[in-house]
Each structure stands twice: as C-alpha cells, then as structure tokens.
Amino acid sequence: MTDLRELYQETILDHYRQPRNTGRLDDANRTAEGYNPLCGDKVTLYLKVEEGVIRDARFEGSGCAIATASASLMTESIKGKREDEALRLLEKIHGMVTGGGQTGDVGKLAVLAGVHEFPQRVKCATLAWHTMKAALENVGEPVTTE
C-alpha cells in the first residue's frame, strides 16, 4: 500500500476530481490531440503562445486519475513559461517517472514521482506532456503514446 499511497497522493486525487484549466480555449493558437490506445485516454490541449511564452493553457479529455491529474497540473505549471522552459520541464518529468523517481526542481509536479514504481502507468502520466510538445511543434497528427 505504501507505493499506492505514493501514486494516489491527495494532490493527484484532488486534480482528478477537480481538474483545473479544462475546456476549450477559444483564442488558442496551438492545439494538439493525444491518445493512449492502450486505455483509451484522450486529451486535447489548447495553448495560447505569444512571443515564445505560453500565456494560457487548457485541456479537454477523459482519462484515468493519473492522466487527468497530470494534464491538470501541467496546464497550471506551464502557464507563463517560455516554450523552451516548458519543453525542459517535459524532459524532467519524463526522467522522473521513467527513472529513479528523483524529483529535482519540478516543484509541485513532484507528486507525479510515485508513477515511477508503476511502469504500466508511465504513459498515463506523460500523455499530456507529449501532447504539449506536439502542440508547441504544431504537429497536425494526433500523438499517441505507442
């Protein structure tokens, strides 16, 4: 149960029950869709980027607690960040959940570290982040976790 508590921390459950920044962003200038064919998790990400800075971020979608909380936490944390900063954060999160779970300087996102004990759930945690990368790179095709 220790690992499970690490995974389903209160912050995760809170962001799952009440995800922040959901819904369409009408003045978004970057959007991307992400899909995890394994579990059917879907996320559509809307970003408003001005002069290389992410001014606003919202998402729509359905997924498990990990995928939803990760998307919610991500939108909170990338707002106001430069594109390159957001992409560097993606690398850190990816390293944290696939590697040893070291949290480093990711702030509140450290709550996602518990995922590293659950390799089958890494894709849930990273879906929104890969989608952000696709949005910033303006890839037209939906990204999948496969």
Binding site: M1, D3, L4, L7, Y8, L13, R17, L38, C39, G40, D41, S62, G63, C64, A65, I66, T68, F118, Q120, R121, C124
Partner: protein
C-alpha cells in the same frame, strides 16, 4: 462460522484440488497471494502442459513430417496425436478438419483471406455482431476493402445479448458469411450460436464461430452446432501461447485456396508448377509450433480429465456467488447481464477510471484486466471508454471472489471524496 462454511464448500474444495496442478498459483504478488482473475486474457498452465513442452525439447526435438529418423517419427506422432485429441475434444468428423494455426486471430484471417477473398465480391455482405473482438472485425474489414463487400452488424441489447430478430432481418440474398463470437470476451454472454447457424443455413450462408472465449468454459461440439468454421486459441484453454485451431468442414477446406505458401503445404514444386498438399497440411505452411501443439494436446487431456460438467458447474456457482457481492458495492455497475453467461464480470465504478481500479487491485494481489478488451465498438455501445474485468477459470475459488470484492472496496476507500 461463515468462513468455516466457505472453506468447506464442496466447490472450493474441488477447486483447491485443481489448483495444485498449476504451479504459478503459489506465486505471491506485492507480498500477497496471487488472485488470478484475468483468465479471459490468458489462462494459467497446468504442470502437465509445461512438462510436455519441456519433454519435447529435452527428449525428442525434431521436425515433423520429414525426417526418417527416430526423433522425427516420435515428434510427428506426438504432433498428429494432438490433432486427434483436438478432433475428439470438439467432436469434429475427421482429424483432417483440424488445422493448426498461431491462434484464433490467424484462424479468422485464414478464413477471410482464403475462403472470403476467393468467393466474395462487391455488394456482398458479411454479418458480424456488435460484441466482436477486434480480431473478428478487422480481418473482415480488410476483406471488404479488397473485395468491395460490406459489413452488417447485429446489435446488442442493454443486457449484453444479441438481438436475434434484427439478425434474422439482416440475413438476405447478399449475405455470404456470418462471423460471430460464441462467448463475449468483454461481457461473458453465451450466444445462441446453434440458432444463429440454423438461421444462416436456411439461406445457405456459412457461419464462422469465434470460440476463443468459449473453448475453456462451455462444451463445444462442432457437429451438433453444425458451424462451418470454429476458431480458438490454446492459451485460453490452459495450453501454450502461439498455437490455435481452425476447424473447418472438409468440403469447405478442400475447396479453399492455400493461405500461405511454403514447406509442408506442397506435394511437389517446380518453377513451372506447384501442387498442394491435402487438407489440413495445405494450410500449415512452414515448420509449425510443434511444442505448442503437443502442449495443446495435453491441455485438452487435462480439461477432459476434469470434464465440462464439473468445470461448468464450478464456474457457474462462482459467478452466482460473486455477482451479487460485486453488484452490492456502492457506485458499481456490472456491464453485461445476459441470462446465459460464463464467469466474466465486467464493471465500472463511479468516479474511478478502470485503469486506476486495475492498479489498486494489483496492489492487493488481484490480477484483472482494465481497458476496452479489444472490443471498442461494444464499449461505445455501453457508453464507456473501458471497463474493469474479472474473469474466472476452473481454479478460482470463493475466497478469491471475496478478495476481489474486498479490493474493490479498497479502491473506493482510496478514491473517496
């Protein structure tokens, strides 16, 4: 006294006895005894099956149907023995009607590409159902793209049963084939396949039954069903992965063109012309999964030694025991409440994604499947993206059903608002 009663329950005693045949069931997961309830994905293997594969590799590994030497003769005999065992198991008229393939998926692809491609043309129709596994949808879609034929779909009602009235109406002069599952892998529904075959035959339409999920849980008699093709996998029948069976009526198999070319499926080859071997070898190109086939033969013996009467009665009793306990969990909805069901409990829990259910259950040592179960059209029919699915086999017990239910309560505890 309740626990004592349960321990002494006749069914559980019998299952406890069967359990000792399966070495893996002694495994502990997360420090807890393994409660394996993912049998619809694959069943565990009895020691006899594991040893049969190992004995083949250790004592008489050789290729079949070729060598003049002693080992090859022994391997060929064991391989063909397995064919005869499978024939008796499904009551086929001849062992030549048993074609060994990689699994149910390959069996269906074989029929689609050999039978279907040589006979179907634009405007023809193939009837499937809404509860098919992707492996009984996609091969037919590919065939439709190749021939211009189209799919017609038998809908499923709220209980998870096929709507036979609509099926009857779908059958028409353009129908060339019906391909439906015997038992739903996602819901457990046992379909009235005998009536389905009968209705199709009235119009001269052949029927393929996907038996992947039925083969270990209901007795199958292909002659009584009168189906034209029956496909199943060994690994869902306590046998090895990578081997399966296509049963086909001899007249159909004989008239069908070869599926893959290669060794063993030929009689003679020259650069000008090749003549093909007889059925079933015509469809078994290349060195087959010899160890797997031998293992399947032993699995069939194993199930035969228990007998379907005991096995079905145990699994049905377990389903009747577990269903109300699970349905009692607040916020839980069982998807699939057909009158005729095998031991499958597919469910969703309010406010919790099935993936999270799966992870938390795993923490309790309870292995289930969470996802769309390769039946995305069926999930859409029920308005869910995924379900959690517990599926029973002969070695599961009431105590394990209790462990499942207790673990689901734990999920609620973790996710309580």
């Amino acid at each position: 006294m309740k626990l004592f009663d349960r321990l002494l329950h006749h069914d559980d005693l019998q299952a406890q006895f069967w359990r000792t045949d399966f070495p893996i069931l002694k495994t502990r997961v997360q420090g807890k005894p393994l409660v394996y309830l993912d049998n619809a994905a694959t069943t565990q293997k009895p020691l006899a099956v594991i040893e049969a594969e190992s004995e083949y590799y250790g004592n008489y590994n050789a290729n079949v149907h070729r060598g003049v030497h002693a080992l090859s003769a022994r391997a060929t005999e064991a391989y063909e023995d397995a064919r005869a065992k499978v024939q008796r198991f499904v009551n086929a008229a001849s062992s030549d009607e048993i074609v060994f393939v990689r699994g149910t998926t390959e069996a269906i692809n074989l029929v689609a590409q050999s039978y279907g491609r040589s006979r179907l043309q634009a405007g023809d129709e193939i009837i499937l159902s809404q509860m098919e596994h992707h492996s009984n949808i996609v091969p037919w879609q590919m065939l439709c793209q190749q021939t211009g034929a189209r799919l017609r779909i038998i809908p499923v009602n709220d209980q998870g049963e096929l709507q036979l009235g609509i099926y009857e109406a779908l059958l028409n002069e353009r129908t060339r084939l019906v391909a439906v599952t015997h038992v739903s892998n996602a819901l457990g529904t046992i379909n009235p396949v005998k009536s389905i075959v009968e209705l199709a035959h009235r119009r001269g339409v052949p029927v393929l039954l996907d038996g992947a999920q039925a083969i270990a849980h209901v007795p199958v008699d292909v002659q009584a069903l009168d189906c034209d093709f029956y496909a199943f996998s060994a690994h869902k029948l306590y046998g090895p992965t990578g081997v399966g069976v296509l049963y086909g009526k001899m007249a159909l198999l004989e008239a069908m063109p070869a599926y893959q070319g290669g060794g063993d499926m030929i009689r003679s080859v020259s650069f000008e012309e090749t003549t093909y071997n007889t059925v079933p070898y015509k469809f078994e190109a290349g060195t087959p999964n010899i160890a797997g086939v031998i293992g399947l033969g032993v699995a069939v013996d194993y199930v035969g030694s228990i007998g379907f009467e005991a096995l079905v009665s145990h699994e049905q009793a377990l389903l009747s025991y577990a269903t109300p306990l699970l349905a009692d969990v607040p916020g839980l909805r069982i998807i699939g409440n057909a009158r005729e069901k095998t031991g499958i409990l597919s469910f969703v829990l309010e406010g919790v994604h099935p993936h999270d259910i799966g992870t938390i259950l795993d923490g309790e040592g309870v292995a289930i499947r969470a996802g769309h179960h390769c039946t995305m059209p069926l999930m859409e029919r029920f308005g869910v993206a995924a379900t959690a699915r517990a599926s029973f086999a002969l070695y599961n017990t009431r105590l394990e059903a209790d462990a499942l239910v207790a673990a689901v309560y734990k999920v609620r505890e973790v996710f309580k608002p």
